[in-house]
Symmetry: C2
Subunit: 524 residues, 2 copies
């Protein structure tokens, strides 16, 4: 584990300034000192990335796929050391981190399969019509090409799957973009280990120097330098609304606008329909006690808002939920800041007018732990106070008790942008709520029926992204194969001689990919 | 022709303030007074658009297609009146405007075909795997859904095809988004006529009140109000770099970030390779004299920069170009501002160090006309002065004479973002310039071989859009069927009961569209 910055194929430590690794479980600094990147090192990393881009963008999909698969192999080769380090730095349990490593490796392989197959470039060919009247038609062919160097801000809550070699890095590298990592302060050692794996994979598969760099530093300093650097062509970020907005604002001051994919806060509202509450309220309460507290509630898809209509069924649900939540033992949170914010935001929520505490697991104030908490509020008070729909990142949920169906549907209608919304309903009653269900689509990226929002499947149909403030660009997903589209743009070639055409666009389709040929999707 | 603002299905004139139509050929105001929209009218239009969106987004592709086709019909029904009015207001000749009307109508029908067929929604289905270990896989389905109300700034240089019912409006309406038009000051009457056609088509095909509105006012006032209005979900603009940057900056100050598709300036460089110059320099010069002066040079794809390597072939090309350009009679420009800017920018260009005038058609300083102008400069002077690669909107081109191939390729390498670049080269020599050709792709949206950049084919493979400063978002096109993607975002449905699923995602694929089913593209 090297504490220096990785700049292309070389380690660099220009500054004397260090950051120290910290264990939230032990509440003390642990081994490992990490050199803060200087502005000169930032420039170096981006200059190398720009140079590397020239070679890297011309690598075939098959070559880039080999690189991604090699990264997966080298991550696995790190073995228990990686899991042990990630446990120390994140406070997350072994089983979860082994699962997360699996997800990370699978994502890399999924993108490798995608680019090896090749149809993702959305190839389109409109052939010439030299005899067309009144003017001949030229031959026009188009495909997606990579944008250029991408900066990835790693996430505190997924030290592996949304970090150094996580979904953002995998999709950017798959698209053909070099990546510069802004390492997260709370898992610097984990980052260094995974960065080394990527470094080794790049060397092994003959990728250019600068295709990957990893820098240490703080968000306000290093982060801002990276966002404003003219060589950067896109930014991916997963984290808080405040940090996401700061990145977006800094990017807006650039001379050249670039895409900013910030995945930020979400309360992921859950709408409990009456029949479902009546028939299986107790089971739903138990299911949700688990979802709210999964990973100490530190998921962007954590269900922070449960909404139902007053009555005995909601009372029974509420009682069961409170009982289940009270049973859940407190667990270590990701870092000091996350824990401190959880406590502050929880206290602020509980102080709001009309909010009452339903249950709270026993506190461990001497530890960096998050206690499972459930509070409740009336629909009227909820609608009157926008603060109540703000995210409290941690194992907390707010039960909103609506006076009637009108209030229930009004809440759905006014919901600010979310990653997800969930509807718990019996099949027969769902059709009576079709207007509400249609309206909810406007506020979310993913609409879930009779499930929990936690657990984001990595697949072609996934949409992980929603209207602001959930993300800064609802038109793209950060999970699933379509995440690659964030880092590419179409380029058209008009009357380009066959010999010069990229393989994807040659007449005989040597890569055998799907193409839109004169308006028809075809494959050889 | 009604001079009031069209707000949904009603005309409104709250303000006493008028704008007056103006004829650039006659150089005087003409009939038609147009009420400036007040802030209250802006609010009304956006409130109606927001309400209309609820109904409009739920219309089928077939219903929206009927609306688009009816718009085309009603535009044609306006007959000669529309052409006569557009001629008066734009100074463009009859033949060009008849052609532009054809393009407008064809675009509407092209998008109608696209949404009637339906595969544009990029439907993806990943079916459930209830037995998967360690956790079951949910059923996840995804498709594109419309963003919401879109503001379209109409373009001065295409009073029909990039204006009221132009490509931006057609693609936004096709996607399912209501449109609010900011009418262009220089063709207010043309706008009013086309707005009426859209109004009639909306009534005839049962579209909701507010699906379309058209407002009169200035860019700095009305434009800024529209960009900052919280109900607006996307902006499309075609015009100058200065205006595009102002819109982008205003949008960046919004609480909610929204997509801004500004298509701005471009000099569309043309690289003249030695063999092509040698074999057919004279023919190329003639071809380019035509392209530079087509439509008085008032195209975003106008070739403003011709680049070659010093020598007798370039001398011959230069002489022929100068001769051809001198023959072209001056013609009326679009409006006073365009003419004034052309003269100012031309004079400023000619004052730059090393720039010399090669030929200028006879001036008509008493008219609002643009004189065909060609100037030349050395490659060294060009590389030393960034101003020389700025657009001069009008019938002007600058011939850059490079010392050698190195200088020639350096210019290609340093080219700022462009809509297009063109390479004039013999097939044999093109392979010797493969590095340059690959590099040029990084700066452009479309790379043309042995043609002219003017003339943008409306088809599936077209990419009209390029890196900044050509546009603010190179990932999207404003011409061709893919322009619809600007106004949509994916929404995923997890375990949604079959009865509730949109038609596009139902099991038996009732619309018969292409879908990505468990990773395989299929169609029934």
């Amino acid at each position: 584990m090297d504490g220096r910055n990785l700049i292309g194929f070389n380690y660099s430590a220009m500054a004397e300034e260090f950051m120290q690794a910290f264990s939230p479980a032990l509440q003390r600094t642990i081994d490992g000192q990490f050199h803060v990147a200087t502005p000169a090192e930032v420039d170096q990393a981006l200059e190398l990335a720009t140079t590397a881009f020239v070679t890297y963008r011309q690598k075939s999909g098959a070559d880039r796929a080999r690189f991604l698969r090699a990264i997966a192999e080298h991550i696995l080769k790190l073995g228990d050391d990686l899991i042990a380090r990630a446990m120390k730095e994140s406070g997350l349990p072994e089983k979860r981190l082994i699962g997360e490593r699996g997800r990370t490796v699978n994502q890399l392989r999924l993108f490798a399969d995608l680019i090896e197959e090749g149809s993702w470039v959305d190839a389109r060919i409109d052939r010439a019509q030299p005899d067309r009247q009144p003017v001949p038609k030229s031959d026009i062919r188009r495909m997606l090409r990579p944008l250029g160097p991408v900066v990835v801000f790693t996430a505190s809550n997924f030290p592996l799957a949304f970090s150094t070699a996580g979904g953002d890095t995998a999709s950017a590298l798959a698209a053909g973009c070099p990546v510069v990592i802004k390492a997260h302060e709370s898992h610097l050692g984990t980052n260094a280990l995974v960065a080394l794996a990527i470094h080794n994979a790049a060397l092994e598969t003959g990728m250019p120097d600068g295709v990957f760099s990893s820098l240490n530093g703080s968000g306000p300093e290093l982060g801002q330098q990276l966002v404003r650097h003219p060589a950067v062509k896109a930014i991916a970020f997963t984290g808080s609304l405040a940090a996401g907005k700061a990145i977006y604002a800094a990017a807006a001051q650039r001379l050249e606008p670039i895409p900013v994919f910030a995945e930020m806060g979400s309360v992921n509202p859950v709408f409990l329909l009456p029949e479902a509450l009546h028939k299986r309220g107790v089971a739903i309460a138990t299911q949700y006690a688990g979802s709210v507290t999964l990973g100490v509630g530190q998921f962007c898809t954590n269900p922070g808002l449960l909404i139902g209509i007053e009555g005995p069924d909601l009372d029974a649900f509420s009682a069961q939920l409170a009982e289940e939540m009270a049973k859940i033992p407190p667990a270590t949170m990701l870092n000091e800041k996350v824990c401190e914010h959880f406590r502050t935001n929880k206290d602020r929520l509980l102080e709001q007018s009309g909010v009452s505490l339903l249950s709270e697991a026993p506190a461990e104030s001497d530890k960096l732990s998050g206690e499972a908490t459930v509070a409740s509020v009336s629909g009227t008070d909820f609608l009157a106070n926008a603060q109540l729909s703000e995210e409290v990142f941690g194992p907390l949920t707010l039960l909103v008790r609506c006076r009637d169906r009108v209030e229930f549907e009004t809440i759905a209608q006014r919901m600010p942008g979310q990653l997800t919304a969930t509807i718990m309903g019996e099949t027969a009653e769902l059709t009576h709520y079709d207007t509400m269900i249609e309206q909810l689509q406007q506020s979310v990226g993913r609409l879930i029926f009779n499930g929990v929002p936690t657990g984001v499947e990595v697949c072609a149909a996934m949409q992980h992204g929603g209207p602001f403030p959930a993300t800064t660009d609802a038109r793209f997903t950060s999970v699933g194969t379509d995440a690659i589209r964030r880092f590419a743009r179409p380029v058209a070639f008009q009357d380009m001689p066959e010999t010069l055409l990229p393989l994807e666009l040659k007449n005989d389709n040597p890569l055998g990919i799907w193409r839109l040929l004169d308006g028809e999707l075809t494959k050889p």
